[in-house]
Amino acid sequence: EAEVAQSPRYKITEKSQAVAFWCDPISGHATLYWYRQILGQGPELLVQFQDESVVDDSQLPKDRFSAERLKGVDSTLKIQPAELGDSAMYLCASTPQWSPHEQYFGPGTRLTVT
């Protein structure tokens, strides 16, 4: 069964350092989402891609966060500099074109900023 891949699974970084997360969506899924989930809360959308184009990044803190999906396949989310409040689970999801409502999530990257 195809799955969304994310790496690393866990990341510990110091405040003010740069950190990057990688996501490889299910093959053929054109839409990709990045979410942030704080423990005990629902996922919060950060950015939505359609192929290589950003559809919505209105909730992305652009002073420190950036996201790209250069070839319309895998994607990278970067934080620079990391702050203590960035500690969270970062989730990637993708959707198939034939069923664009159905989002399939990866295992996430647990970020701890010290």
């Binding site: 809360q41 409502h101 159905e102 999530f105 295992p107």
Partner: protein, 112 residues
């Protein structure tokens, strides 16, 4: 109007019992209502979903009941098992952008 309100925040059910989680929404433009199940340290997994032209959908032990006039929908887990212990999120989306609006989640514990 973009909110989805979920209750209860936590729920304890005996093994074999019925677990019921409720959600309510305001935006009548929502046209897809999924439920996600999330285990600790994992990403959410799509469990079951319904569209507003259907009042009920059943998949195994999981049933969504949908009340369009009341703008409410609920998840019923029949014969609840300890393996069902997880956090459950309801959500809603609209066709214009397919983005999910999430409920706050319900932590379900099934006692053996």
């Amino acid at each position: 109007q973009q909110q989805v309100k979920q209750s209860p925040q936590s729920l304890i059910v005996q093994k074999g019992g019925i677990s019921i989680i409720n959600c309510a929404y305001e935006n009548t433009a929502f046209d897809y209502f999924p439920w996600y199940q999330q285990f600790p340290g994992k990403g959410p997994a799509l469990l079951i979903a319904i569209r507003p032209d259907v009042s009920e959908k059943k998949e195994g032990r999981f049933t969504i009941s949908f009340n369009k006039s009341a703008k409410q929908f609920s998840l019923h887990i029949m014969d609840s098992q300890p393996g069902d212990s997880a956090t459950y999120f309801c959500a809603a989306s609209i066709k214009s952008n397919y983005q999910l609006i999430w409920g706050a989640g319900t932590k379900l514990i099934i006692k053996p």
